[in-house]
Amino acid sequence: MSVSAALDASKTASIIADFPILARKTSRGKRLVYLDSAATSQKPNPVIDTLVQYYREYNANVHRGVYEIASRATDAFELSRAKVADFIGARSDELIWTRNTTEAINLVSASWGAANIRSGDAILLSELEHHSNLVPWQLLAERTGAHLRFIPVDERGLLVLDDLDRLLDGVKLVAITHVSNTLGTIVPLDRIIARAHAAGAVVLVDGAQGAPHLAVDVKALDADFYAMSGHKMLAPTGIGALYGKRELLDAMPPFLAGGDMIRRVEYRHTTFNDVPWKFEAGTGNIADAIGYGVACDYLANLDMTWVREHERRLSDYAFQRLAELEPRGLAIYGPRNASLVSGAISFNFADIHAHDLASILDTEGVCVRAGHHCTMPLMDKMGWAATARASFYVYNDERDVDALIDALEKAAVIFKL
């Protein structure tokens, strides 16, 4: 083992100890080999403890009470906003709490979209998009008479940018993923955003798979909107965030209406609160929002450059080991190059359907996702009915890849390959 690999191993061992679920056994007595972090990540003790502490010690509504625990809750809630914003290089007055990426994208399509998209406008997406960054734009296009265009994907799962300038002609909005959840492809955002801006378009990035795995600086990227989900980056479910450039957010109409998002209400008229609260109607997800800040602290402390390098190293190892099974019918999809993918690998094994494969892996404690991964159009285009997907995160190591390979060997025996 090289020195850097040894250092990586000892760091990973201490990370694993922070995730209590990873010490558990399945009902068959198998070690839990969690390879589905692209669906949702596991949670470390500091995040779990934060939730318990909030409910035990200072549960109170925010922005309202004058008493001690209410001000403690408000401080923690807003401090967490600052931490999550800082994690992606944003200011806290540009970061809106949402439930998840899906809600963040819907906020932009409902608010910015209604105010800015007109009949005949074009919206440019890519063929890699998750349903969350596709269906809201289909609905907006139906409502407004706008039309959708797509940056094509090639057979390796890489975007084809040759025709980008032509595709951008007349485009008002580009909505594009940072990382493909199905193939792991890292999208070259810097090139796309620069050319989109040159063409006068606003750019929304679906960061659901970007923020958890890559060092993100929304200012350096010059993204106009960046949407993300806490639950995929060590935070609880039910909390996500939308970054938006301040001048865009200021000009946008509210999304949901009600308490908290107002400054002054009369029976027939309301003036709205400042950004970001203008977009946060009703009591928010206080405990989970506070947990999100703790998750970002945890990741920042690991250092996102290390996280990326750890996952690159692990993907590299997984590609190598999976290749051993290729003579027996294993097919790997997507760019087979660890530098081009972020911790997610899709595959199929001979004529074993992905669901059967996932069921057999499950008997060995290995958790993988099987199906269309909420990217049905991409699957149709590639001609895949379903794939199995293994995805990695900070708490995975080579042992997990080995367990995956062993379980695949078992599947080969059961299916008599």
Binding site: H355, S359, D362, G371, A386
Partner: protein
């Protein structure tokens, strides 16, 4: 779940019986498993006495959905439409002869749901939810 994949199941998966299409079917139904996107279509030819004279299924899916549908077509052949409409999930479970985990129950029931839909001429309930 690993003991599910017995020889006869794999045989039905790899060599499905009554697979394909009928020239002029008297009844047709199809459905998709919302969980995984697996799709099954069933076509029936019905004789004068209301019996299923011939049956074909088509579609793509996992071993559980393919094998259970393949076996089900053998069960259904010669049955009256009324009898096919009354089939319950037990018919499928008896055919496969092995326990199905709750997470895969929909896979096993998809073919039966489609058969019952074809028999009654409208979308049938999920057999495991009846």
């Amino acid at each position: 779940m690993d003991d599910f994949y017995r020889d006869y199941i794999l045989d039905h998966y790899r060599n499905p019986r009554n697979f394909g299409h009928l020239e002029h079917p008297d009844a047709v139904a199809e459905d998709t498993n919302p969980l995984c996107g697996d799709h099954i279509k069933i076509e029936l030819r019905v004789d004068d006495q209301g019996k299923i004279a011939d049956i074909r299924f088509s579609g793509k899916g996992c071993a559980i959905s393919q094998a259970s549908t393949s076996m089900l077509t053998e069960t259904a052949k010669g049955m009256t439409l009324e009898a096919a409409a009354r089939l319950t999930k037990d018919a499928v479970l008896e055919n496969v002869g092995i326990g199905i985990s709750p997470t895969r129950m929909k896979c096993a029931m998809l073919g039966l749901r489609v058969l019952k839909s074809a028999a009654i001429g409208t979308i049938a309930a999920w057999p495991d939810e009846e």
